[in-house]
């Protein structure tokens, strides 16, 4: 058996306010969501606070939007009929590429967001879907602001809101095997405007704002504008090395799949 995490106390509060006050008590108190990555997340915890009893496991759909409770499992989102239609199904696709279904049955969207994992396939898609995160204290926070924050807020993520725009979407994950983390992932959406995100760079997913602005300013998207856009992306998105791939190889992947993705969404 590998070395376990040390937990002094385990609590599953029934109210969000109680959850929040427990979390605020001490930096050594931590929230557990699905727990899929708990072994690589925490070593010592004073109070491990579970969100299991807060009824945050739901997907609500109306004409304008989806609201997903933070404790909804990745698998539930992946297989949700409505979400499968959103932006050509890129949320469903991205989640479906995360490990195996046994893990997706425990991993939650809240945990996947709050972990801010650099290898995340989900964050890029949420960025291009312009997701809103709803926190207990901070209220609505855009996914963009959340990803750009240097620290994860000591707050409770309650739900995620997604607008039902009639978007076209593109998602691509490049990985060595189907169970591996991405060497790179790319998410693109378009209705009137483009949104482009690149993740697992190996750093955390990032919006390519200049690239999207450039594309949005063009009357027509042809091979030349696509080439230009890819060059802009090369300048604004920083890539690096890790054991899954080098910076140079990531550059090629980004270039290639940005082109293919843009072509796909303008079709």
């Amino acid at each position: 058996m590998i070395k376990g995490m040390e937990i002094k106390e385990y609590i599953a509060p029934k109210t969000i306010s109680e959850t929040y006050s427990l979390l605020s008590e001490s930096k050594s108190n931590k929230v557990i969501a699905g727990g899929a990555w708990i072994k690589i997340s925490f070593k010592h915890v004073d109070k491990l606070i579970s969100l299991d009893n807060l009824a945050l496991d739901y997907i609500k759909e109306d004409n304008e939007s989806f609201v997903i409770g933070a404790m909804t499992t990745l698998r539930a989102i992946e297989t949700h009929g409505g979400l499968k239609q959103l932006a050509s199904g890129i949320l469903s696709q991205a989640i479906g590429s995360v490990m195996g279904i046994n893990i997706r049955n425990i991993a939650t969207i809240g945990g996947s967001i709050m972990g801010k994992f650099a290898f995340s396939d989900l964050l890029g898609v949420l960025l291009v879907l312009d997701a809103k995160l709803v926190f207990f204290k901070a209220g609505d926070v855009s996914i963009y602001d959340f990803v750009e924050m240097t620290k994860v807020p000591e707050d409770i993520l309650l739900e995620i809101k997604l607008k039902k725009d009639n978007l076209k979407g593109y998602f691509k994950k490049i990985s060595k095997t189907h169970l591996d983390f991405a060497i790179l992932n790319i998410a693109i959406t378009k209705r009137d405007n483009f949104k482009i995100a690149v993740g697992s760079r190996p750093n955390i997913a990032k919006l390519a704002i200049d690239t999207a602005n450039y594309l949005n300013s063009q009357k027509t998207i042809d091979e030349e504008t696509i080439e230009n856009a890819v060059e802009i992306a090369g300048n604004e998105i920083k890539l690096g090395d890790n054991l899954r791939g080098s910076k140079e190889y990531r550059e090629v992947l980004m270039k290639t799949y940005l082109k293919r993705g843009i072509r796909e969404v303008v079709k």
Binding site: M1, I2, E6, I7, N102, I103, I106
Partner: protein, 150 residues
Amino acid sequence: MKINLKVNGIDKTFLIQKNEYLLDVLRRNDYPSVRRGCDNTSCGVCTVLLDGKPVPSCSVLAIRCENKIITTVEGIEKEAEKLAKHFGELGADQCGFCNPSMALTVYSLKLENKEANEEEIKNYLVGNLCRCTGYVAQHEAIKRYLGDES
């Protein structure tokens, strides 16, 4: 501390440590079919059904399982027998260390999508690694199992 859960239809109370994972608790309490493979959710051999869904028991804190329903392969014996028949007939058995977890996952697939085609089978089971068989015979056997009458 104690937790109460239902394992294979029987109410159980187990003594656990706060930081223990379900895998260790089940193995300690004589469910040998739940196996330890990789320690970190990568291989699938520790899979059990938690409230009917396949999960990696190596990464589920036991303390969170109060009042949950756990199914190990011992709880779906008839299904395991059916799958074993097809595995046997197609030579899909090798070391068998992953077979109980495979049976649970395939059973869960059957409940979700009995009509699954080969691609869907592969996608559903991708988290269940096998280093022995090369997977081909398994997929054939699983197709036959899904095609069984009952």
